[in-house]
């Protein structure tokens, strides 16, 4: 041991992860803020393309850097990544440079021809987003016609012989009763079901109060996940539910800036895909390169310091829950060192949430959108409880698109 070791030596793997790795394990790269849809809960407030978007050459240089850092795979998202004209070119480039790709799509552009191409490419995985097992539940959230489009894409992928692609579902108050149906849709398509947590990020902050699962649904979800074990993927997103009992499979820690990060369409690097806000912006790859940001940025270095658990430290579940999700706390105005807003022990009630932070950016569509969400219940918005409960800056943008 040298004198400079100011923190205890890591013995468990999870401790190493807390101190950060030389390169991320779970890197999300959002290729564009452009999207043909306008989902009410979009974590990146996508819609319009950002004119400063990375060029094809810049994207390729970034892939080269990923290869040098041995980042074995990236999760590509958006926006809708397939609307970039060079999307398929970048996909091929990444694969040729030993950077595997899993990309998320709403399915509109996964034609039978593209599906065959994908099935024939090694190291590429596809994740089709669907937030209701029926059009009645899905389309109010993702937009008119989006259920049919996702199912068509999945049919095409199955028919092309694509194995184990992902059906990705954000769990909400409305679709938690449909977990078995989602599983069946996935099974019928030879796909794997992936369930992730709704987070109050981007436009998700606007619908959080209406859509986040109710306390008894959290329990239902936890029991369902335990019953289905490793057969269902969760992207490690439900570790706050571990406080119900046994830990779920996965790392069970907030990986933001430690093993997780986001590169956004203009090259900004954030601590996590659900933390697109100036407070979690570590740097830009155009200025300093990705490696430099990942390894040296002041923000990431501070996230890798031992964190204080605040009010959670005395909780019996702290070892597995660790106070939950940093982004969920931040965007609901709760202190970062306290309980998660969905704390299953009910401790969030004892914390007074401050004002919700104003978003730092918004690429939402401003005009009408062809496949706009069908406003039923989601269109109702909770009345502001304080003057600043909703961002005063973009009040007009908070109206559901198309209504």
């Amino acid at each position: 041991m040298t004198a400079v070791a100011s923190r205890p030596a890591a013995t468990r793997l999870v401790d190493h992860f807390e101190y950060g790795l030389d390169a991320p394990i779970c890197l999300t790269w959002e290729l564009t803020y452009a999207c043909n849809l306008a989902c009410v809960h979009c974590l990146s407030s996508s819609g319009r393309r950002d004119p400063r978007e990375l060029t094809t050459d810049e994207c390729k240089a970034l892939i080269d850097e990923f290869e040098r850092m041995q980042i074995f795979y990236v999760n590509i998202g958006g926006g809708e990544p397939t609307v970039r004209p060079d999307f398929w070119e970048l996909l091929d480039y990444a694969v040729a440079h030993h950077v595997g790709v899993k990309f998320s799509t709403n399915g509109f552009r996964i034609t039978s021809e593209r599906a065959r191409q994908l099935a024939a490419t090694d190291y590429v995985d596809v994740q089709v987003s669907l937030d209701g097992a029926t059009a009645e539940v899905n389309d109010p959230i993702r937009g008119a016609g989006t259920y049919d489009a996702a199912l068509r894409a999945m049919d095409n992928l199955r028919d092309a012989g694509m194995k184990d692609f992902k059906l990705s579902v954000v769990c909400t108050r409305d679709n938690i009763p449909q977990l078995d149906e989602f599983k069946k849709i996935a099974d019928d398509h030879g796909a794997q079901l992936r369930l992730t947590r709704l987070r109050p990020a981007g436009r998700g902050a606007d619908v959080w109060e209406d859509l986040h699962p109710l306390p008894h649904q959290q329990r239902e979800l936890y029991d369902w996940l335990v019953a289905h074990g490793e057969g269902v993927l969760t992207g490690d997103s439900f570790f706050h539910l571990a406080a119900f009992g046994d830990a779920l499979p996965g790392l069970n820690l907030c990986g933001a800036g430690r093993v997780v990060c986001l590169v956004d369409p203009v090259g900004d690097v954030y601590a996590c895909p659900f933390a697109i806000h100036d407070n979690f912006l570590a740097g830009n790859i155009r200025d300093e390169g990705f490696k430099q940001v990942w390894q040296e940025s002041a923000l990431f270095r501070s996230l890798r310091e031992p964190q204080t658990g605040g009010a959670c430290t005395s909780c019996s579940a702290y070892d597995s829950c660790r106070g939950g999700c940093m982004a969920a706390k931040f965007f609901t105005g709760m202190p970062l060192d306290g309980p998660d807003p969905e704390c299953v022990k009910g401790n969030a009630e004892f914390v007074s949430a401050g004002d919700r932070p104003a978003p730092s950016q918004d690429h939402s569509h401003r005009g009408t959108v062809r496949n706009a969400p069908v406003p039923v219940s989601i269109g109702r918005r909770r009345p502001p409880t304080t003057m600043c409960d909703e961002s005063p800056v973009n009040a007009a943008d908070l109206t559901p698109t198309g209504s």
Partner: protein, 88 residues
């Protein structure tokens, strides 16, 4: 296993990390962790030696540690991270 020839699976890449290495299998998309720098050395060197035991000798694994390393290699073999050389 100890008398056999093994090698890192061709579809697996190792990335050095402070705790040892990350191992990623491009075919199965499976990520594993090698939690000991000496184990990483062994895995990297397997292909250069006629047997696992000779690899242990070359890397300098003490006899007392060999059962532990042997068990770790069995686990990696179970995940197809390392493969028998004649089968490779």
């Amino acid at each position: 296993m100890l008398d056999e020839a093994w090698v890192l699976n061709g579809s697996v890449a190792l990335r050095p990390e402070p705790f040892g290495a990350l191992a990623y299998d491009f075919t199965t998309r499976r990520l594993s962790f090698l939690k000991d720098p000496a184990l990483v050395e062994v895995v990297r060197a397997l292909g250069e030696h006629a047997t696992v035991t000779e690899t242990f000798d070359a890397v300098g694994i003490a006899p007392a540690d060999r059962p532990r390393f042997g068990a770790a290699l069995e686990r990696l073999a179970g995940q197809q991270m390392i493969v028998r050389r004649d089968a490779a």
